[in-house]
């Protein structure tokens, strides 16, 4: 049993699913009850997830709040869920964004509202499951499960090309994660053969690798892999997460999915921005295979730099705001990848911070794009003009989000970018050349975002844009809540970085010895 004596993580994990089941009993026509029920469940999930933060023991690096139930004992599969200093923030991000996304859908989804809410709740459960799963088998199940509601949400409620987008958003990551399944089975078998215990438990496997997360228990590694096997296993995980995250050049499905996903931004935020791939990189590739990570880091660093610049460059040419945001999110993730494979405490912390921040900031911008679409019926910047004058509140809030995304110090985006650059500079795997190129990305970010803002929000008001109404209090609430958090963790980032530290130090310690072993 865990430190609370209460299955809190499981509660957070399954509450949305229960809500989804409850939704089935609400009559199809009773939209008001459906709204309140779905939103209420999401809100309660968020409130229930807050104690995770308050009760979190900041002093230890291992998995906390572990709920462990034997499931398929003969195969070593258990229902094991928990959080540590890294996954805690991803879980909180998910539970925080879901109620906001729910509210966004109230005005935009006209048909099959109940199904939409139901799928969103299932999606939330799936995403939380990915972050909370401590058992690799469970992780794989949740990882694949998230694709189902995602594909359905895009395919049923998306834009004109939704079916193609949904197919691609399902098949591409799905095919890639099959490689990961091979990798998981590979580790499972290797572990079983060498130690005699067949298990999918991450904590146990890490301990066998000699990377124990429990302090003091760092014993001799009992699971030894040959370099070739290790690289192959690393590769299987890499393919899955590189597509999911996505890394350049595996990013195209994401752009199409963002473009076609429902206009209000709820699906973008919950399904596509949740950084499952980035989390997987830290949890599996880096934690399980530090030496291979060091070996692959320069190559991945090059990919990351290409990604930062390439995505920013592509974003400049976009006229659809959602496509632009998709490229912007890819560019942010390039920074995150650079930080992770800096393989030091600063870089990995910065990467986690950057992914959370990008989820909030880009998420907010997707909401803003949804609000524009709800008023104007288009997201094409060539048709928008002078919106700041017509809808000053929307303009002001969007501008704040834009600057957060550009990386204005004091808002969250800057903290991630700077710590990543500093980490990469100090890294023995990367070095200053990578940073010098990546830093150009910050210029390009300013260029494409402000170019977009100038064209759509500034300039004279053209007749079709003249009679738009400004934001409702509800919409102000959504963007306002996001901005408060963005400003909060921008001014006091230690709120997040502090609790992460023990886990990060543990990762950094393992990485440090691995890097020292590999570096000539």
């Amino acid at each position: 049993m865990n430190q609370l004596g209460f299955p809190l993580v499981s509660l957070v994990l399954w509450l949305p699913t229960l809500g989804a089941l409850a939704l089935l009993f609400v009559p199809r026509d009773n939209v008001a009850t459906q709204r309140m029920l779905a939103f209420g469940v999401a809100l309660v999930t968020f409130l229930v997830s807050l104690p995770l933060l308050f009760a979190f023991n900041f002093g230890i690096s291992s998995f906390q709040f572990v709920d462990s139930i034997p499931w398929m004992q003969s195969l070593g599969i258990g229902y094991r869920v928990s959080v540590d200093g890294v996954s805690l923030w991803f879980v909180l991000l998910t539970t925080f964004m879901t109620p906001l996304a729910m509210v966004m859908t109230w005005d935009t989804v006209r048909q099959n509202f109940r199904t939409f809410q139901l799928l969103l709740l299932l999606l939330e459960s799936g995403v939380i499951g990915v972050f909370a799963a401590q058992d690799m088998f469970l992780f794989y199940i949740f990882f694949e499960f998230t694709l189902v509601p995602t594909a359905l949400l895009i395919g049923m409620y998306g834009g004109p090309d939704r079916v193609r987008a949904a197919t691609k958003a399902f098949l591409y990551p799905f095919a890639a994660s099959l490689f990961m399944l091979l990798g998981i089975i590979g580790i499972y078998l290797a572990h079983g053969q060498q130690t005699g215990t067949y298990t999918f438990d991450m904590a146990q496997i890490l301990a066998s690798r000699g990377f124990s997360a429990t302090p003091g228990a760092t014993g001799q590694p009992t699971l030894l892999l040959t370099p070739t096997v290790e690289r192959l296993l690393f590769g299987t995980f890499f393919i899955a997460f590189a597509v999911k995250m996505p890394l350049w050049p595996f990013h195209t499905w994401l752009v199409l999915a963002h473009e076609q996903a429902s206009s209000d931004g709820s699906v973008d935020v919950l399904a596509l921005l949740m950084k499952l791939g980035g989390y997987g990189f830290i949890r599996y590739n880096i934690q399980l295979f530090p030496e291979v990570s060091r070996w692959a880091a320069p190559v991945i660093g090059v990919l990351a730099v290409i990604q930062i610049l390439y995505a920013a460059w592509c974003a400049f040419a976009q006229t659809d705001i959602k496509r632009l945001l998709a490229y912007s999110s890819i560019s942010h993730l390039g920074f995150a990848a650079l930080g992770m494979f800096a393989l030091n405490e600063l870089g990995v912390s910065g990467a986690v911070f950057q992914m959370i921040s990008s989820g909030l900031v880009t998420g907010g911008l997707f909401f803003a794009a949804g609000m524009i679409y709800a008023r104007r019926g288009t997201r094409d910047v060539t048709e928008l003009s002078g919106l700041w004058k017509v809808t000053p509140v929307l303009g002001g809030l969007t501008l704040a989000l834009v600057f957060a995304s550009i990386g204005l110090p004091g808002l969250s985006g800057f903290i991630g970018e700077y710590t990543i650059m500093q980490g990469a500079w100090l890294s023995t795997a990367l070095g200053w050349r990578f940073v010098a190129l990546a830093a150009i990305g910050t210029i390009l970010a300013a260029a494409y975002f402000l170019h977009m803002y100038q064209r759509s929000f500034m300039g004279d008001v053209t007749p079709p844009n003249a009679n738009l109404v400004d934001l409702t209090p509800r919409e102000i609430g959504i963007l306002g809540a996001l901005l408060v958090v963005i400003l909060g963790i921008g001014v006091y980032p230690n709120f997040m970085l502090g609790p992460m530290q023990p886990t990060m130090q543990q990762i950094a310690q393992v990485l440090g010895s691995a890097v020292a072993a590999v570096t000539p």
Partner: protein, 669 residues
């Protein structure tokens, strides 16, 4: 007294409060102006009180009183620890007085100037946010917090240049939203230099804090990097094919890149002339008196770094001299009243950069202060002229305003004389100090001569401007000029007094400012430098001022008397154009930097981005690689699907054959 150190927090707190109140609560235009002005005046008072508190601090052993107030740890990951702390020393004090003092005057002026304008509440909120950011810039006790202010003022600059974002163009033919974006993006180019410089400083010196910090909140001590600069004085960085470069030089050059962006130096000055799209008080406050000087402040603050790298210091001086000259020449060829002043600002910033580059920090700060006063005066007076001339900014439409707007005329004249460096106005003392330092102490006589030349051009274009605006006949008679009201003229008079007596603060022989700043820059324990005024310096000063006066008179005479003056017509090129031709055009367009960037960077970038996104990404990666894989699978399936005939008996037959084979296999094996 010494326990009152928290008072320094109030300096930025009031403008921040003003910003918040104006943003969220105030909807009434007059109240907004009063709240904003009140906040800045209070900040000014707090700055004065803080100086008193600072002087009451016990003198530490290593010299240099400073207050360092840490609120919380901003970022702390492993050994990377950056406090959210405020620094208040003598350098900060001087800057804070300028920012809040001139800021307060301009706020009050704005109440009158912006009366009847659009979006006033927002305007005042942004102004307060700017003052707050600027104070963060000068009060940050580490590079990262300084960078917060650095980017913050960039944000405010963006917002205020874009004040008329809903107009397609404002005088003289600038698109405000485009100018705002341009300002931010060009500044971003410089900021990359800052980012990389910070990363390099931390990785080599292990800290981003300027000075050793008192034990932080948890008792650990964060060292300051400026004290350890000598550790890297001889370290080299391998650049591969480009040879090697000293670490200190590399860091300084990166900082210099940031400075060229924010302080509008060659080659990144292009955003400043366009920044005149903002309202005139904004041009006075942000784009003349305060924000653009932050580069000077930065070089002054990290002076030990530049002292460790003579190469980089040489670059700084070169850039400064080049800027001073090019911008002064460009100012001659402008017709827009504000553009003249904009190029003049760039040119004067060049002087300051030269000064701090040579290590003459107090001279640089002296010029920064006097320039802040008289350039603010000039811009505000220009605003008064524009107001009186019914929003015309083209000097060809003015003329003879001397009699219609006497107060404005006299104050403008004082500002112009101060800018031109005529004895005994403020600009004379500060400019002379820089030139004479370059000649006698800095060992850069060529630079000094070029600066004297630039100073002559400065006097010339100011003479030309005075002549065009205030003398001769009114060339456009479609409007009746009038003098502005008291809320505009009183700030002008206050600033004019400052422009007259401003030289006193570092009067040769008295050098109060140098003494005041001394503890910040001097090596610990060294006595104040005894600057005796030599005869040579005196002669140089006399020569400089005479040359300036002569060329200023020439500029005035040329445009008030004779053939040249008569040929100034609305919409026609300047009479001097026919004698200079392309050179004149070059000066008019700011030496073609804009044209070059547009053709060499912006357009290729735009074209390439379309290609990258629509062809390479969509057809190449997505179309060929991703969908290609899908199509390959499709093809393979195509050839296999023939087996699915749709006739049951075929299936059954295959099934049977399979059964027979399997049974056979098991039976025979």
């Amino acid at each position: 007294m010494s326990n009152l150190t928290w008072i320094i927090l109030l300096i930025p707190a009031f403008p921040l409060l003003g910003f918040l109140v104006n943003t969220f609560f105030i909807r009434d235009e007059r109240t907004a102006g009063r709240v904003a002005s009140g906040a800045v005046i209070l900040a000014f008072v707090m700055a004065l009180l803080s100086i008193a508190v600072l002087q009451a601090q016990p003198e530490p052993a290593e010299g240099g009183r400073r207050i360092d107030y840490i609120l919380w740890e901003w970022i702390s990951v492993g050994s990377f620890r950056v406090p959210f702390g405020f620094l208040f020393d003598h350098l900060t004090a001087v800057m804070a007085l300028l920012v809040t003092g001139v800021g307060a005057i301009i706020h009050v002026y704005s109440i009158g100037y912006m009366h009847g304008d659009v979006r006033q509440v927002r305007f005042f909120a942004y102004l307060n946010l700017f003052i707050f950011s600027m104070l963060m810039l000068i009060m940050g006790d580490n590079m990262l917090l300084l960078f917060l202010g650095w980017e913050g003022v960039g944000l405010c600059s963006f917002l205020l240049i874009g004040h008329y974002f809903d107009r397609r163009s404002v005088q003289p033919g600038i698109n405000p939203s485009g100018a705002a974006v341009k300002a931010f993006v060009v500044n971003r180019v410089g900021d990359v230099g800052m980012l990389l410089a910070m990363a390099a400083i931390f990785s080599r010196l292990g800290s981003l804090s300027f000075y050793n910090q008192d034990p932080m909140l948890d008792g650990r001590i964060v060292p300051g990097f400026l004290a350890h600069v000598n550790d890297i004085a001889f370290a080299q960085l391998d650049l591969g094919a480009f040879g090697t470069i000293g670490i200190a030089t590399a860091i300084c050059l990166l900082i210099l890149l940031g400075v060229t962006g924010k302080s509008a130096q060659v080659p990144l000055f292009v955003w400043l002339p366009d920044a005149m799209a903002g309202p005139t008080p904004v041009s006075a406050l942000i784009h003349a008196a305060t924000m653009v000087t932050s580069g000077v402040y930065l070089i002054a603050r990290v002076q030990p770094l530049f002292q460790a790298s003579p190469t980089a210091a040489g670059w700084v001086v070169t850039i400064g001299v080049l800027t001073a000259l090019l911008a002064a020449l460009a100012a001659v060829a402008q017709f827009d009243i504000k553009r003249v002043l904009a190029y003049s600002t760039i040119s004067q910033l060049g002087y300051m950069i030269v000064a701090v580059g040579m290590g003459a920090v107090s001279a640089g700060m002296f010029h920064l202060l006097t320039h802040g006063i008289f350039k603010a005066l000039l811009f505000l007076a220009a605003g008064s002229v524009i107001h009186g001339a019914h929003d015309h900014q083209d000097m060809r439409r003015m003329g003879g305003l001397r009699t219609k707007m006497p107060t404005t005329y006299w104050t403008y004249l004082v500002g112009a004389l101060a800018l031109a460096g005529i004895f005994p106005f403020a600009g004379f003392w500060s400019k002379d100090e820089i030139i004479s330092y370059a000649w006698f102490n800095g060992g850069r006589p060529v630079g000094a001569i070029l600066l004297i030349f630039a100073s002559m051009i400065t006097a010339f274009y100011m003479g030309r401007q005075i002549a065009l605006i205030f003398f001769g006949q009114q060339r456009d008679t479609t409007y009746t000029p009038h003098e502005s009201g008291q809320i505009i003229t009183v700030p002008l008079i206050i600033l004019a007094v400052g422009a007259v007596i401003g030289g006193l603060i570092n009067f040769p022989g008295l050098h109060w400012l140098s003494d005041f700043l001394h503890p910040v820059f001097a090596t610990p324990g060294a006595p104040p430098v005894d600057e005796t005024y030599t005869l040579g310096q005196g002669i140089l000063a006399v020569v400089t001022t005479l040359l300036a006066a002569a060329s200023g008179y020439a500029g005035w005479y040329l445009y008030t008397h004779g053939a040249v003056a008569r040929r100034v017509r609305i919409g026609q090129p300047d009479p001097l154009y026919r004698y200079n031709g392309d050179i004149w055009t070059g000066a008019e367009i700011g030496w073609g930097f804009d044209w070059f960037y547009d053709h060499a960077i912006v357009r290729p970038y735009r074209t390439a981005s379309r290609f990258l996104s629509d062809v390479y990404d969509r057809q190449g990666i997505d179309g060929t690689l991703v969908d290609g894989t899908g199509r390959l699978m499709g093809r393979a399936a195509e050839s296999l699907r023939g087996a699915q005939t749709g006739f049951i008996r075929n299936y059954v037959l295959i099934f049977l054959v399979g059964v027979v084979l399997m049974v056979g296999y098991f039976a025979l094996s």
